[in-house]
Structures are given as C-alpha cells and as structure tokens.
C-alpha cells in the first residue's frame, strides 16, 4: 500500500511545539535525542534524588517534581500535567515503566488537551488487563494458551478449569507483570495454596486480587512482535525479538531476529499481532508477546508502550522507533508499508544493572568512581550514567543498555563479548562479567534457550562459577596493585591503606594527581 496517501483536512499532521519527557534514566535520554534530531524542544522532570542525573544535565529545560519516592515524583500525573502546561508543552512522552501504561493518566492528558505519545486510553484499557487481552485475542482469532479468559470467581472454578485443560497449569494475576502474582501448579493437591498465594500477592502488588488460570507451557521461548500503528488505520509489524534469557521472569538479554523463527512463522505471528492491534483501535508503538513451543505460538499479553529492548528492532530494521512514535502522535501517516520492511543482520542487547551477581544479585547503588565505555564497529550504548554520578537507591537498577549489531548472530555475540571487555564501571558492582559467562555458554551460542534457561543455569552447576584469574593475570594484578598503592602511599605519609576507608583513600589520591 502506498504510504503517502493524502489525509482528510481535519487529520493533517500538527507538529508538536514542545514535548515533556515524563521519565528518567537512559530512556529519558533516548527520547531527548530523538527530540533534538527532530528539532522539537523538550522538557525533562526530576525528583530530588535525580537533580544531578544525566537527563537533567542534558536538558535545556527541566523542572522539579518532588521527593525521591516515585509515588511523590515520577508517578504524580497531576504535577506532570501542571508542569507540561507551565512549560508550554503540548505532548508527553511517558517512556516505559512509571505512567506509561496508566490508562487514567492517558485519559487525563486527553482531557487536558495534551497529546499522550502512546495509544489512546480506551485501547490501553482493552488490552492492559491480561484477562481482557485474552478475550481480545479470541476475538482477533489469535492462538492463546488454553484456560480462562476472565478472573476466577472461586477456588472451585479453578479446580474445574485446571481439570479441563490438564496439569501443569499456571495461575496469573490479571493486573500482573514482572512475575508477581504468578504460580505454577503441577498437581491438584497444590492448587488451593497456590491460588490463595497468587491472590494475596496480586492484591499486595497491584491492588487487585483477580487471578486467572492457563495451561503451563513447559520450556517455552519468549518471542514478541513489535507493531506500529498510525492514527489513520494503518498498522505494520517490525519482525520479532527473542527475550528468552530471563532471570525470575525479568528479561536479561534480548535479540532480533530470533535464532529459530522462519519467515513463515514470523508472518503468521506478525499478522496476528496486527489483527489484535487493529481490533482494539490501537495506535503508536506496541508489543505483542507470545510463547513459542516448537513451532506453535500462543498469545501471552500486549505491552501498550515502547519497550526497553526496542533498540534491537531499530538496528535490524533501520527505523527509529521513538521518532516514529512522535510522528504518529503528530498525526502523520506511517512512512513505511509492510512490504518495505526488511530485516537485516542480527542485534543483541544486554541490560547492564547495578547489581552483584556474586552476592545474590543484590542491588548496588552508589558512586561511579570510574567509567570506561565501549565503542567501535556495531556497538550502541543507550546509557543513563556518567563518571562521578551517584546512582540513586530509589529506582530500578538499570544503568545502561549495551547493544551489538553484526551481519550474523555469531558475529554479534563476538562483538558483544569484545565490547563487554572494553566496558569498565568502578565504584559499584555490575552484571558485566555475568554477561560474559552467559554469552560464552554453549547453549546460548547454539540458540538453545527458553524462559527457564538462565534460572536453571544459575541453580545448577552448568554455568561455570566466576573463575579464579589465571596465573599471568594474578601476577599482573599484583604488580598493578603495587603501582597504585605505592603511588598513594608516597603521596601521603600515612599508615598503609588497609586501615583507611575508600573515601579517605580516594580523597588522598585525588590530591596526588590534581
């Protein structure tokens, strides 16, 4: 279909005067970059914990929201609307997380005459709750896992449905996400306690105890389809992403394309995703998630926002998803038709977190004392940090996204390993070394992954524990440590560094080199 159709007069694109970015971290910078490239002025907002955050430093206009807790800052829709109006902005980009999937906020924007860069509130309401999304999937003729399409009214209903579809089954919170309110049940005897646990966990996490039940697919792959829909009834899919490498239901590594999806399955999934989006009156960027079992796929849920892992799709399609989101929200027609979308090469993304894999993946906020970032061919880094910044303890631990792009999957893995070796973050612990171990694992290299792959590796002994450095490295590290230590002890005639804290030592060292 040609894409430059003329539009009715009342639907002429209207460029934004200014965009408010209602987020923080790397995604706020990502959106700011798109605005700059499109010459659209933008405003950022910050909490007290983020006064020195990069999304404030990079902005030309920035306003304080409130205290550090998200409920008093980044989740305050009323304040965001007030600031948008005060700054003379006419659109809000919500990024991901925070208010991005909050239909009430999207509606408040609509009522205030401010464009929410995302789907309409009605589409979010129709597809957000997982039970409603399952009903929409049925209406759109999409395959989904057997089970209920509305909340379970009672434990008796759970028993009945589980009996019909057969064990193992999965209980899930309708309002769920991130693995909360989820329970796998392998036999009837365990259903009651799991049902109650899922209900109470859902109530606590989401304020709703609605739980539904579906057939558990064993060792599925997580495959998702990126869709883009304009406000003139056109919708395309941009191929798939595979996000099977997860730890406790949280994505860790994503890639595009999947190592196992062929053109036929891709177009089946893509067309199903487009049918779902169209049936709900969906616009802007969205992602339809599926579970893949062999070559059968089942609808899982729809994410009604831009996703963390969107860069891998950008690299293999050559499209800028954030710019397209803005153009769609301005009322422009999609500038590309389905048959013009080509996938080229392979992209892999690692989510770099401030966490310590050697200490139970505990968070590691704190000051970044030194930072050396990778570069060179095929490397993209969407980062939200800088040297000298103190990563606050108030928000999620994502520091940066490292993305490698190469002609083939194998070359992309090699490129990512090379970039990981160039990447050094000091002062806090990160999962950089953990990625090296996964990327070198034979099953990952063979594309032999499913959503339980990483948890099994961590539980078992297959993933080699962090190795002791080889003899040569130990010798070099000893010499290097001696060089560093002798420089600091000659600088200040104090007793050996052992007895002093890191802060004092750092201060002394700064004094030496200044």
């Amino acid at each position: 279909m040609p894409y430059n159709n003329s539009l009715p007069a009342n639907a002429q694109p209207r460029p934004f005067k200014k965009i408010l970015i209602a987020n923080r971290g790397e995604i706020a910078l990502r959106i700011a970059r798109a605005c700059r490239e499109m010459s659209i002025p933008f405003v950022t907002v910050y909490s007290d914990a983020d006064r020195a955050a990069p999304h404030v430093l990079e902005a030309e206009e920035s306003y304080r929201l409130g205290p550090a807790p998200a409920t008093e800052s980044y989740l305050r829709g009323d304040l965001l609307l007030e600031i948008t109006q005060r700054a003379g902005a006419d659109a809000i980009h919500p990024g991901y997380g925070f208010l991005s999937e909050n239909a009430g906020f999207a509606e408040a924007c609509e009522q205030a005459g401010i464009k929410f860069i995302g789907p309409p509130a009605a589409a979010m309401r129709a597809l957000g709750p997982k039970t409603l999304a399952r009903q929409a999937a049925d209406a759109a003729g999409m395959p989904r896992t057997p089970g209920s399409t509305s909340g379970l009214a009672s434990f008796e209903e759970a028993i009945e449905i589980a009996g019909e579809i057969g064990y193992p089954v999965m209980l899930k919170a309708a309002a769920g996400g991130g693995g909360k309110g989820m329970r796998a049940v392998t036999q009837r005897e365990d259903l009651k306690s799991a049902f109650e646990a899922a209900q109470s966990e859902a109530e606590r996490a989401f304020g709703s105890n609605e739980v539904y039940l579906e057939k558990l697919i064993e060792r599925p792959r997580h495959i998702e389809i990126q869709v883009l829909a304009d406000e003139h009834g056109r919708c395309v899919y941009l191929g798939e992403r595979e996000c099977s490498v997860q730890r406790r239901h949280q994505k860790v590594i994503e890639e595009a394309p999947s190592a196992v999806i062929n053109a036929e399955v891709r177009s089946q999934m893509g067309e199903a995703a487009v049918r779902l989006a169209k049936s709900a009156g969906y616009t802007n960027a969205g992602t339809v998630e599926f579970l893949l079992d062999g070559d059968r796929f089942y609808f899982l849920e729809m994410n009604t926002r831009l996703q963390v892992e969107h860069p891998v799709t950008e690299l293999v399609t050559g499209l800028d998803l954030v710019q397209l989101q803005i153009r769609i929200a301005q009322g422009e027609p999609l500038p590309i038709a389905q048959d013009e979308i080509r996938l080229r090469g392979h992209a892999i993304e690692c989510r770099i977190y401030a966490e310590d894999p050697d200490n139970g993946f505990f968070p590691s906020p704190g000051k970044i004392t030194r930072l050396l970032q990778p570069g060179g061919p095929g490397i993209r880094e969407d980062s939200g940090i800088y040297e000298g910044w103190t990563v606050p303890m108030d928000y999620d631990p994502m520091l940066s996204k490292l993305i490698a792009y190469a002609p083939t999957r194998q070359e992309a893995i090699a490129r990512m390993l090379r970039a990981l070796d160039e990447y050094i973050i000091c002062g806090i612990r990160t999962n950089l070394a953990f990625f090296r171990r996964i990327l070198k694992h034979p099953d990952f290299q063979a594309g032999n992954i499913d959503t339980g792959y990483l948890d099994r590796l961590l539980a078992g002994t297959q993933l080699a524990p962090p190795q002791e450095p080889c003899e040569e490295r130990k010798v070099l590290a000893t010499i290097a440590a001696a060089v560093f230590e002798s420089h600091r002890t000659t600088a200040a005639p104090q007793p050996a560094a052992q007895s002093t804290g890191g802060w004092k030592r750092a201060a002394r060292e700064e004094g030496l080199y200044r």
């Binding site: 108030d394 070394a433 002791e468 070099l476």
Partner: protein, 163 residues
C-alpha cells in the same frame, strides 16, 4: 617500597618505587614500565606485554580491572591480619547483623532487648525496588539496634548485635 599483596588467597611480596623501571616480585626482578594516565588508570607494560589496568576502590574492597576481568586484592599488613584473627575467634560471642547491600531501612521487626529465635527477621532494607530481610543467624537477644526506619545504610554496616 615493599608491599604484601594478597590475591585469591595467595600473598606475594612486591617491591616497587614510583617511576622505577623494575619491580621485584617474590625476589624475581621484572622489567616494567608503568604510566599512570589519570587517577586510577594505568598503562602497564611488563616484559613487553601491554595492559590497561583500572583501579576499583569500593567502600568494602579494592580491585583492579584488567582485560575484562575484575581482580580483588588485599594489602596484607601484619596488624590487620592480627586484628582479623582475634575477630574470627569469637564464634560464640556477639553476632553482628550487617547490611547485605547499600539501601534504606524500611522496617524494624524486633525491639532492643527482645529475645530472638534463629532465622527470625530483624530488619528489612530496601534498594532499587528490592527488599531484603536480615535474619538472626541464631537465637539470643537483641542487644543493640543501631538503626531505625528511614535510615540510609552502606553495605557491610553493622545494623544490630545479637548476644
């Protein structure tokens, strides 16, 4: 100057003077060229092999990064060794409940003076949307409670003492 540096359980003696072209490692003399590029970043050439080494001064330990690997080290000085030994000896003595991560105290589950059971939760700390409940490793009584809700703690800080 002579230093004793411990890596992966093994201590080596190293003699190096800033600016010198050799280093003596366990009695063996090696040719080195060390150039500190900026604080904590070192170009090190040892017998012709070149390395970039970055110093990682955490609050809890020191480490160097080289060739994609992070290697933790300890400066082994006799006084601290002794201190460590005396400390290790008192397994039946008071137990320190330490912060497992930097964070904020969100809840305190026992009061000073309370009797506590083994595995009983004492303090909950939170960071980056993750909560961690610190438990008493054995039964006893809560002799000291050093924090209250809202306090910010560093990794390794002693938050409570069980006797």
């Amino acid at each position: 100057m002579k230093l004793h540096i411990q890596i992966a359980g093994k201590t080596r003696s190293v003699d190096y003077k800033p600016g010198a072209s050799t280093v003596t490692l366990d009695g063996e003399v090696l040719e080195v060229h060390a150039l500190v590029l900026r604080p904590g970043i070192l170009s090190l050439i040892v017998e012709g092999r070149a390395w970039r080494v970055v110093l990682d001064d955490g609050v809890d330990e020191s480490a160097v990064h080289l060739a994609g690997e992070r290697v933790a080290y300890n400066l082994d000085d006799p006084r601290s060794l002794k201190a460590r030994r005396t400390h290790a000896g008192d397994a039946d003595g008071p137990i320190h409940i330490k912060a497992s991560m930097p964070g904020r105290v969100v809840r305190v589950l026992a009061q000073q003076g309370d009797a506590v059971e083994a595995h009983q939760g004492i303090i909950v700390i939170e960071a980056m949307k993750m909560q961690n409940e610190l438990k008493s490793p054995r039964s006893g009584h809560l002799a000291e409670l050093r924090v209250s809700p809202g306090d910010t703690v560093a990794s390794g800080d002693v938050l409570a003492v069980i006797e």
